[in-house]
Symmetry: C2
Subunit: 236 residues, 2 copies
DNA sequence: ATTATATCGTGAAATGTATCACGATATAAA
DNA sequence: TTTATATCGTGATACATTTCACGATATAAT
């Protein structure tokens, strides 16, 4: 023990310099929500936000909010709260929203087209370099600001723009094959909108944006809620 | 204490009968994924699934899979695994995917239109009764199988079909007002696709399908991943 | 200048979730 | 039939997250 610092130039030793490297998932979700709330608060002219108001809006404990803030280096002032601007800036840095990320979009069906037209991404630093579809009937059609390209061109776009992120919005039965292809082309992260779980090599990041899961969660809560009402009010 | 069982016909006393009433969020997410994997496995002709294969696909501990299964009453056979069919049936029951849920969709812009055309919902028991938009230019246009209706008609549709769920796909600055309106009309659950956190009265369920959050999560993992590579391989 | 108070910051305790270790059991092999 | 083994089931343990309790501090009021 007591390994001498600096040996082998291991930069991961001083954990302080990489505060965003190991944020637990629940915290990350809350941080994204603080960001949204801070933006709205800023638009309403609030220069400060207290942990109490954040906790009330989100329905979590106020201490938890302060712990979250501390964990990413946002400091507040007693009796004032946190600066709205600092929350926004720091969280955009932490969440990676301030730097541009290039992505290709694969599959221009319902979801894919909607994502192409979604104005929110630019604001959050995502730049869709190009959109592709394997269906020749769709190629050359316009969707929003984009012209759909044939899959053959995808490889060169990935190389040219050094694209690391792919948005996968193809039908479920084509998703795995397409994911394999993208990984072979050097894509490192896949935002998957197809309702299946992708198998990818270690080191590739996949985020499943599973709408059916969201639906299941919603219905689960709704039923739970109704059941509590039927049971009559118990504790809280 | 030691309240006599059966007093006041309190059905919530024997916790055994309502296994789905208090499932932790992480488990719920895994359950939805087991469901998807089981469906694919079934299509591939696999009649059984072991906790080991599920755990490898999802990258979680095998014990955790067994605990999850036990928690919802799915029982497996030693040396065989869990029945694919039982997983699917039980989870559809637990997740509420087998019974129909009526919903109205508000806002037929990019996301809203995509959701209307999304074929997956029917399979998962969601029936969109009607779609509405406040923009008169959009009213009467067709999107998929739907004709967009004016907001004036929304109230009567909610009453007629006793709709409890609303899918909210309006611009961020209109979302809160619309949510308030829906709650006054009796909607109990809101599936919110607008990138803001809604304030709702206690007892109303909101699920935020926050695409920007998904993006933030993806980018966070990507950066973390790259950083680990630069640091050289440490433990795992 | 002094006091009051809203708010932050944080170690300690409580709670919740995941992993470990190991016994039980159904099928396959000998 | 007996033995071997893959797999389930679960109590005990370890780890992670949240809540509690309380001290510190900046602003506002007196």
């Amino acid at each position: 023990m007591m390994r001498k610092a600096g040996a082998k130039r291991v930069s991961g030793e001083d954990r302080t310099r990489i505060p965003w490297s190991n944020i637990p998932k629940p915290s990350l979700e809350r941080l994204a929500q603080y960001h949204q709330i801070a933006i709205r608060a800023g638009e309403d002219g609030n220069e400060n936000l207290s942990s109490v108001s954040l906790s009330e809006i989100l329905g979590v404990d106020e201490t938890l909010v302060r712990k979250d803030m501390a964990s990413v280096g946002i400091v507040g002032k007693p009796r004032v709260g946190y600066s709205t601007g600092q929350i926004i800036n720091k969280l955009e840095e932490i969440l990676g929203l301030s730097q541009h990320t290039d992505a290709v979009l694969i599959g221009c069906g319902g979801i894919g087209s909607a994502l192409l037209r979604y104005p929110g991404f630019r604001k959050y630093g995502l730049r869709i370099s190009a959109a592709f579809d394997a269906d020749f009937a769709k190629v050359n059609q316009r969707v929003g600001d984009y012209v759909i390209l044939p899959m053959e061109k995808c490889r060169s776009v990935i190389n040219t723009f050094r694209v690391k992120v792919a948005i996968l919005a193809v039908p479920a039965d084509a998703a795995q094959e397409m994911a394999d292809w993208l990984v072979r082309r050097g894509v490192q992260a896949i935002w998957n909108f197809a309702p299946i779980h992708l198998r990818v090599p270690a080191g590739i990041v996949v985020r499943n944006e599973n709408l059916a899961l969201g639906l299941a969660d919603l219905i689960h809560h709704l039923r739970r809620n109704n059941m509590e009402k039927e049971d009559g009010a118990r504790t809280r």
